[in-house]
């Protein structure tokens, strides 16, 4: 089973997982990293290392989702990349997260990340456009 780490500014990561849990129930092998102003880089790095040990136990593949490219959670997360084993997606949103938990376990990490990247982008809609399409 693949592990998931959501890393974001302030409480966003834990609240995203919380929202996800509210919709689909308990989330196995998932954890949140909350990056706050008072955290120094070494602290955040240690949080990542510990989280990878937890959700990536027994060599499981790990996907890190972060809020934005260029932000501290992504900047630090990038240093943990291991092609084929640990990868990182930026711009996390709830549909992308839900899709992670509802995706087939048989997918490789590369296949899964490509699906989630596209899915997260396609999940963004403008209501008035949807209405126009109806009319």
């Amino acid at each position: 089973m693949k592990g998931l780490i959501v890393a974001a500014h302030a409480n966003m990561a834990e609240e995203l997982l919380h929202a996800c849990e509210l919709i689909i129930g308990p989330l196995p092998r998932a954890c949140a990293i909350s990056v706050r102003r008072e955290n120094n880089i070494d602290e955040i790095r240690r949080l990542f290392a510990a989280s990878i040990d937890t959700v990536g136990a027994e060599g499981a593949q790990v996907l890190i989702m972060t809020d934005m490219l260029g932000g501290t959670p992504a900047n630090i997360g990038m240093s943990f990349l291991e092609p084929g084993r640990i990868d990182l997606l930026t711009g996390v949103n709830l549909p992308m997260l839900l899709k992670f938990f509802n995706s087939q376990e048989s997918l490789s990490l590369d296949e899964l990340t490509e699906i989630l990247r596209a899915y997260g982008q396609q999940a963004i809609h403008l209501a008035s456009n949807l209405l126009k399409r109806q009319g």
Binding site: N40, D42, L69, G71, T72, N75
Partner: protein, 161 residues
């Protein structure tokens, strides 16, 4: 060229810089002065990828950046200059880079430093470096994001937490 912000931030290019300072100051060129990152190909690539299109990114050693900013090579760019440490900023100022103001953003690397604010931790070496910078006529203040009040750094050091 105009330096619209010179800042010490050990996170260098990150959320506060990209989403808060750049738009608020209408900077169109981010210059990172850091000897380590200047030689780290991957980190440089990631920094460039994170910056919105239309904003130039220059990452080079402290010496090379000082030289560049003392020349007129950047034309009429609005430069946001980043250092990781007080020591690097002092090197730049002492090598002739003229700054009116230096902003302290995030300085919380290393252990055994005294906390002066939520994001500023200083040891004696930092204090000496900042004093030297100030002695060169640079006004040193702390401000994490533009919406926050600016505080004179010397005031913060007085009331160490």
């Amino acid at each position: 060229m105009q330096i619209v912000l010179a800042r010490i931030d050990n996170r260098l290019i990150h959320g506060q810089v990209l989403e808060s300072w750049v738009p608020s100051l209408k900077a169109n060129c981010i210059v990172v002065a850091n000897d380590e990152v200047a030689h780290a190909v991957m980190q440089k690539l990631l920094m460039e990828a994170a910056v919105p299109r239309g904003i130039q990114v220059i990452v080079d050693t402290v010496d090379a950046v000082s030289e560049l900013l003392c020349s007129d090579e950047l034309g009429d760019a609005r430069v946001l200059l980043l250092f990781a440490t007080a020591h690097d900023a002092r090197r730049a100022v002492e090598s002739g880079l003229v700054l009116k103001k230096l902003n302290l953003g995030n300085m919380h690397a290393g252990s055994g430093k005294l906390q002066c604010s939520c994001t500023i931790f200083l040891d004696n070496d930092d204090v000496v470096d900042l004093e030297k910078i100030q002695a060169c006529g640079v006004s040193v203040t702390s401000q994490c994001v533009p919406s926050e009040r600016e505080t004179k750094w010397s005031k913060m050091v007085m009331k160490r937490v």
